[in-house]
């Protein structure tokens, strides 16, 4: 009798450490952020203020600038998808050295963002390497302050993000393409299909589910995992041109000490992230 009881409990014993840690590190913090976003601290006391923090956050144009910049970063997703697919389909033809190319293209993805960010900030400086190459090529008036100019900072950061992330998509799509039935291409060849026709009518439909995954994962990344790039390269500047939600939360809490407003903005970020996470889960289930 006793033995049976022990047997019934044991699965929960195995998952207990996980639940304690996840509760402490993720679940309680999320609940805390949601609750505290309706409170404020006045003279060391926690006072319920309803939607005040949200009203203050929404009135602040920085929130809208940050949201707009995150949405602009979403534009990297179609660019990344198309370039990755194109590179993967070139490698799929098993051109000479394709394994080497695949290995090299993946390297930026494993590098640390601080390292990448610092290297690029030296490359893109006004007196940096990129401009010296342009000057040497006689393009003096193309030599610009890539990270310091308000018009250029955002596209420059986006290019660095694309440089860093491109390898993941290439390897992901290539792995999927390798499992496509070769005979599909062979019969298309018999029908005299062009490379583009084969790409549109075989490659794309056969990789469709993986493309869906990729798009959602990358959208989540552009919303929730770009803090490091911004922190290292631009600190949100110049003139908030590269400010994103993550950096705004960081700045409000550790720069300004507006913890409760920062938590209201965190809830907004969490809501946006939940929408994408929910879509991700739906796509995952659909696969089953």
């Amino acid at each position: 009798m006793k033995k049976r009881k022990v047997k019934n409990i044991s699965p929960y014993v195995y998952i207990l450490p996980t639940f304690i840690i996840l509760l402490l590190v993720i679940v309680v913090p999320i609940i805390y952020v949601i609750v505290q976003s309706f409170y404020t601290t006045i003279a060391d006391e926690n006072v319920f203020v309803g939607l005040r923090n949200y009203k203050l956050a929404v009135k602040d144009e920085l929130l809208w600038i940050a949201i707009k910049n995150n949405l602009k970063l979403f534009l990297c997703v179609p660019i990344l998808t198309v370039i990755s697919l194109a590179i993967a389909s070139v490698l799929y033809n098993k051109i000479r050295g394709w394994r080497f190319y695949r290995s090299v293209i993946f390297i930026p993805y494993i590098l640390a963002i601080p390292v990448v960010g610092i290297v690029f900030s030296y490359l893109l400086q006004y007196n940096g390497v990129f401009n010296s190459i342009l000057r040497a090529a006689g393009l003096e008036n193309m030599a610009l302050d890539w990270l310091g100019d308000p018009k250029l900072a955002f596209p420059s950061v986006a290019v660095v993000i694309i440089w860093k992330q491109i390898g993941f998509g290439v390897v992901l799509f290539l792995a999927r393409m390798m499992s496509i039935d070769r005979s599909l291409y062979e019969s298309a060849d018999v029908d005299g299909a062009t490379w583009f026709q084969k790409f549109m009518h075989i490659t794309i439909p056969q990789t469709k589910t993986i493309i869906e995954f990729y798009v959602i994962i990358t959208l989540i990344e552009m919303l929730s995992w770009v803090f490091n790039f911004i922190y290292v390269m631009t600190a949100g500047g110049p003139g908030n041109k590269t400010l994103v939600l993550e950096y705004l939360i960081y700045k409000k809490s550790f720069g300004g000490g507006d913890f409760n407003i920062a938590m209201a903005i965190s809830v907004i970020l969490l809501i946006l992230a939940s929408i994408l996470i929910a879509v991700h889960q739906v796509v995952m289930r659909k696969e089953d």
């Binding site: 047997k7 044991s10 929960y12 195995y14 998952i15 450490p17 996980t18 840690i21 996840l22 402490l24 590190v25 993720i26 679940v27 309680v28 913090p29 999320i30 805390y32 952020v33 505290q36 070139v90 490698l91 033809n93 051109i95 050295g97 494993i110 590098l111 640390a112 963002i113 601080p114 390292v115 610092i118 290297v119 690029f120 900030s121 010296s132 440089w163 390898g167 993941f168 390897v171 992901l172 792995a175 490379w195 993986i210 995954f213 994962i217 929730s224 803090f227 490091n228 922190y231 290292v232 939360i249 960081y250 965190s266 969490l270 992230a273 996470i277 929910a278 991700h280 889960q281 995952m284």
Partner: protein, 275 residues
């Protein structure tokens, strides 16, 4: 035939240009770490005329670079180790044991892998304060383990599901209870999955910036990533020393990539996409 060859050349030209774009920043970083500052100013792109190791010596002597390296090493090893153990236990329960709420609980863990870490920092800080762990390695290890667990459990569970039940049943007939079956049957079989997920975790912790930046304010506890980010501000005038720092921070990851590319890439793909 001719057309095909033409396309082959176009592909090669495209790929070689891409390789140059990918490699150039790394080349720039490495090559300049062996130059004097004077040479860097006059020769940013070429290979060093007077090869010097002085920047590496400066990086280790002038600043607590060795300490930062050690700190990163400790955090990475500890966080990856504990994540592996905790995920092994949970993965086993989710893959091979029947209990009420199994699917529901697992379904709740998976989406946690995409929660933005920034949104949880303030409460995490307050919890750590209540626990009396401010400015300790344990606090950061705990948070790392929490952030890595959902993905690691997901990988372990999916892998363990592929282990045939008959192996476990055979062990049970031989008198193993679930603990022994895990230890003597499941753990040895799960080594590849454990290596794969641990490599992904090691790379992630080694490269992590935000959490160590916020939670380890004490100079002696700083990690390499926080260190080089600060380093940039302090040594702005001596760029080759900064480059030497970046190289030191990158070498361990590149070594892992060279020797365990297959496992690492596999893990990174499997973590985000369902098999």
């Amino acid at each position: 035939m001719k057309r095909k060859r033409g396309r082959g050349i176009t592909s090669q030209v495209l790929m070689i240009s891409l390789v140059i774009v990918i490699i150039f920043p790394l080349y720039f970083m490495t090559v300049n770490s062996f130059k004097t500052h004077e040479e860097y100013v006059n020769n940013m792109i070429g290979i060093p005329k007077a090869f010097t190791m002085q920047n590496y010596i400066d990086a280790f002597q002038g600043k607590p670079f060795g300490q930062w390296f050690l700190n990163s090493l400790i955090l990475t090893a500890a966080a990856a180790f504990f994540t592996g153990i905790v995920a092994l236990l949970a993965g086993y329960a989710f893959a091979k044991m029947k209990f009420r709420g199994r699917e529901l609980l697992f379904g709740m863990i998976v989406p946690l892998m995409s929660v933005p870490p920034v949104a949880m920092i303030i409460p995490q800080f307050r919890i750590i304060k209540i626990m009396g762990l401010v400015n300790t390695r344990i606090s950061v290890i705990l948070i790392y383990v929490g952030i890595m667990l959902p993905m690691t459990i997901y990988l372990m569970r999916n892998f363990m599901k592929t282990v045939p039940d008959s192996l476990l049943d055979a062990a049970k007939i031989d008198g193993c209870n679930s603990k022994k079956a895990l230890l003597f049957v499941m753990v040895p079989l799960s080594v590849p999955a454990l290596i794969t997920s641990s490599l992904v975790n090691i790379v992630w912790v080694w490269n992590e910036l935000l959490i160590s930046l916020v939670f380890l304010q004490k100079e002696s506890l700083r990690t390499l990533m926080v260190g080089i980010t600060l380093f940039k501000g302090r040594f702005t005038l001596n760029i080759p020393v900064i480059m030497a720092g970046l190289v030191i921070a990158t070498v361990p990851i590149v070594i892992i990539y060279i020797f365990a590319q297959k496992y690492l890439v596999e893990g990174m793909l499997a973590g985000s996409v369902k098999e």
